[in-house]
Symmetry: C2
Subunit: 222 residues, 2 copies
DNA sequence: CTCAATTTGTAACACTTGTTACATTTTTAA
DNA sequence: TTAAAAATGTAACAAGTGTTACAAATTGAG
């Protein structure tokens, strides 16, 4: 099991022997959860770092009509609920539920602080995780603040193009999935793609998107 | 000056003598900026913690047409650009510009790490700042994902009501400012307030908002 | 290959919000 | 107190997106 734990980002750079040593001198729990079991409840104070060693969990919000909305899946090896651990108001905004049988390493924040102090690398790992999470959320925020579907779509195409370093993008999604991802309806998305095609900004050969006019595309993201 | 620095959140709990001691053993710079001077450029890697000791700065984005969009003001004593300091991709997304003559304490992240290791309280302060920032951004995200003006407004009224623990809210803003804050236009905001009034959800005596039907209000935020 | 299921294209219409404009009320400064 | 400035109420219209519906094209399992 220590080798599994050494795969998680918070223990990056440690081998299983080192993980074993660290955990021997750090108060912690390891809990196993069954599928659908609730790991932590929305509203609860969250004073523990959760390290998902094995399995998969999800966060889900419950709206006014008791309808469940899935927010995010997390797969081992990873951590979750780590970014607001030291906030003044550290209440969970979502329920944490096991998708599959899951093994979770739980470290209280006070013990974590001690660990930070005795082990510089763990601290650096933690800071790295939290900072990366922050960058992600900030990007999401920037994306959400785009007002039109065209702007969102253009921004998305530019991101994909940057990643693949290619003017021709392969969309690994159906229109329906892409529409969901962008938070818009499928017919509206189709209409927007058509408009961009008509304006000579992109071509759509099959399941691909070819960027014809990068400047126009960029201008749309304002 | 040390007493000013001791007012900043990263040095919370230290008096000026202690701050003086800490800074004696920590590599740092103190720089002064004139109004409109650019402190850091968008795109630059950001490897320093900025502690705003005196004055006021702003973040501003520049769009494709070189139009400047103000993002956020920060007033001393506070820190900024701290949350993504340890991210893999730690490039600034905005320019940092001085509003007024400002004094800034600059600590490189390597020196900061050393400081964390030698001083537990500083580390805790930093973790607290970053976590709180994360909670703020997450709330903003949740807010932005609300689709209608009514939902945003309802959510805002509920927040204010929770804070003041009172069904009657004092809006310290003009409609124009509130509209800006919500990212909508002023006439649309006025129209929405009128609708909520007509539906018997709120009353608007003068500059106040009185919540009449809390349940209906809450239902609007879905 | 073939047929059913899925995905995509498209159109008509409704709803929400932005735009512009102007009248009215309130606030502020002289 | 009074005139100018700022804030607010409101209306007509435009733009963007959602909703619903259905046909055409594509995909996939047998």
């Amino acid at each position: 099991m220590y080798s599994q734990i050494s795969e998680t980002p918070i223990f990056k750079g440690f081998n299983s022997d080192e993980v074993s040593d660290i955990l021997k001198s750090t108060h912690h729990q390891i809990k196993t959860y069954e599928p659908k079991e609730i790991i932590a409840f929305s509203g609860e104070e969250c004073n523990n770092l959760f390290v998902l060693v094995e399995g998969s969990i999800r966060g889900e919000a419950i709206d006014y009509n008791d309808k469940i909305i899935k927010i995010e899946d997390v797969f081992a090896p990873d951590t979750f609920a780590e970014a607001f651990l030291f906030a003044d108001q550290n209440n969970l905004l979502i329920n944490i539920v096991a998708n599959t049988k899951s093994k979770i390493l739980i470290i209280h924040k006070d013990d974590l602080l001690r660990l930070f102090h005795s082990n510089k690398k763990i601290l650096e790992n933690y800071l790295n995780i939290v900072s990366n999470r922050f960058v992600l959320v900030t990007k999401k925020l920037k994306f959400l603040s785009l007002k039109t579907i065209k702007a969102k779509l253009a921004s998305h195409f530019i991101e994909l193009s940057k990643k693949s370093k290619n003017k021709t993008i392969f969309l690994g999604k159906t229109q329906m999935e892409l529409a969901d991802y962008l938070g818009v309806t499928r017919p509206s998305l189709a209409r927007t793609i058509k408009e961009m095609k008509d304006e000579g900004i992109i071509e759509v050969p099959g399941k691909m998107i070819r960027i014809i006019d990068y400047n126009k595309l960029k201008k749309l993201t304002e």
